[in-house]
Symmetry: C2
Subunit: 358 residues, 2 copies
């Protein structure tokens, strides 16, 4: 497989984005040599997966944004993240627009930002299609796929991987497997394995989707599952502040403010993602287990005290096992979602973590 990689066709689109983009309500200069490259890597031949399954072939949709010769940082997010990290036409399309971009904690004037659509997801990388069975996907499989992508792009080693949530798990898996191909890891809200309480919540989400698929109403199941997931991403403090109002009578029943919010967001999600992909990547989180003691890449870990999904105790325990690690504990009402929102707190941490060896 590896031998044939270099000869595979590379679909790459080049474009130069506008020289000035708004950020934080101010105009921020964009380096003039920034290019946005996107492509699909096709890997021919049967691919073996960590949990024993196989795929007849693989395609990986990737995107690389930044100054032509800058060091490459791979940015990976939650299971609904994708290759479009920042500098998208509509900033809302970039899943990390708050954190990555010109003059952001992950500065696109300083680094080339690489990402890809996850294997098994709803993007343009290989994923489940309809009712057809799809194998279980490990965070190690995503790491392997990233290594193939680096070969393909001619990147010997990444300057860093910055990963939040599932992306942090993939970063840890990559660090264990390919220590020579990444200079440092920056892990936010992800541990060496999923916590059983989080697994409980995700197991229910998956069972909801399977049940709804079985009832022929998959989209509604995905809406419900995402509604539940949303309630685990934030902190109870935030919900308390935002959804403090009384219920309203809607026809014959009371609807609570938090309920309207969750189901509205769940509905948006269900219109954009595939139920089968949700099942695949949600399971992949729970299957994630890496050996922290064998991750020799210098690692900066950001733990959020209010994170319901990844308890502080788990983060501390992982850091104690990591050979070269530094723990940053922060507080955020955004809980698990802090990696998407806390641009000011993360700015300082990114500066230290991406600079030298932490």
């Amino acid at each position: 497989m590896n031998a044939s990689l270099e000869s595979l066709p590379v679909t790459t689109r080049h474009s130069v984005s506008s020289a000035v983009v708004p950020a934080n309500n101010t105009l921020v200069a964009l380096a003039t040599d920034i290019t946005i490259r996107e492509g699909i890597l096709e890997i021919a031949g049967e691919q073996s997966l960590y949990h024993g399954g196989t795929l007849p072939t693989l395609r990986v949709a990737w995107r690389l944004v930044g100054p032509t010769s800058a060091p490459v940082v791979c940015a990976l997010g939650g299971i609904s993240a994708h290759r479009r990290v920042c500098l998208t036409e509509d900033p809302r399309q970039g899943w990390w627009s708050e954190i990555a971009g010109p003059d952001r904690p992950l500065d696109v004037n300083q680094f080339r930002i690489l990402s890809f659509d996850y294997l098994g997801g709803s993007g343009d990388t290989t994923g489940p299609q309809g009712a057809e069975a799809f194998p279980s996907i490990s965070s190690y499989d995503q790491a392997d796929l990233l290594a193939r992508l680096l070969d393909h792009l001619g990147v010997t080693a990444l300057h860093a991987i910055a990963g939040g949530s599932y992306g942090g798990m993939v970063a840890l898996a990559f660090g264990e497997r390919y220590p020579e191909r990444v200079g440092r890891l920056l892990i936010i809200g992800a541990s060496d394995r999923a916590h059983p309480m989080s697994t409980a919540w995700r197991s229910v989400q998956r069972q909801i989707v399977r049940f709804a698929v079985d009832c022929g109403r998959a989209k509604e199941g995905l809406q419900l599952a995402r509604s539940l997931a949303m309630s685990t991403y934030r902190s109870s403090e935030e919900f308390s502040a935002r959804f403090n109002g009384p219920p309203v009578l809607d026809g014959d029943r009371f609807v609570f403010p938090v309920e309207s919010y969750l189901f509205s967001r769940g509905g948006d999600y269900a219109s954009r993602y595939r139920p089968e992909s949700f099942l695949c990547l949600s399971e992949s989180i729970d299957l994630h287990r890496v050996d922290a003691g064998r991750i020799f890449v210098p690692t900066s870990v950001v733990a959020v005290r209010e994170d319901q999904l990844v308890p502080l105790a788990d983060m501390r325990a992982m850091v104690a096992r990591l050979p070269v690690a530094r723990l940053h504990e922060i507080s955020s009402i955004y809980g698990h979602d802090a990696f998407l929102k806390e641009s000011e707190q993360l700015r300082r941490i990114f500066a230290v973590a991406l600079e030298g060896v932490s």
Copy 2:
């Protein structure tokens, strides 16, 4: 309605339980004059409810256990609790057998223990039947029903109400409405209103059940909803300790230890409770709002630091508003379920709370 109560027929069964019952693996003497009375109170005529609905008539299934002339303590539990608190033929039938009984924190040799099946529940009190619409039920409605029951039983005033979870909400509602009819309140894991994060989780549970009802598969929906509920009743510390093992392959997919547990327990529940009752009482929790500043009954409050459903901050805030209250903060890996399990920690608190005015 009140005028006719005294003349209503009382269905009462008397029985004397065995003089010696096992508790904590030792034989504990049971006072010889203990009687177990059970009955149904029928209240004729249209009943108006707090949220504006009506019921054409009411029946209330109650149970009173203890020495004939002892002070009466009303014991109220979560939405799946019922009139059988303790001293049932099979101890597993009593929902509070760990806490109430001979030589337990709520000592049946010292107090007569009263309880009833909740309005809107799955027991023998009036509740929803099948697809027929049932009105929204308030914790104030349960309190009113308890007041009618006291009239019926000739109990001028309760020595105390000890309530956990939803039962604590009902106790608070009773304390606000009928301060002259109860000497003290003992509230565990319940606040003056539901927390929006808990409402979020319960809203998803109810939507799962409604969806499944709509699919003609109500029981499966109830199983799923209860599985989710179970994951909110305990602490992440307990789940971490209990469900630490790897997943097992079951046919074509991985099943996680916590998942097996939740769905097994959810299935048990779905076989014993009615989906419509679950919807009714789950909503009743979220509709609960009492005015803590107007509860003039001396109140002992037990807050569990690990309770995910009723955060410590909410308990502290309520205690600050209660005119006469004392807060006991405890730690328990059982989280919200601590009121069912922590017999040793609760023993000391019950002794103080039930003795004088706290």
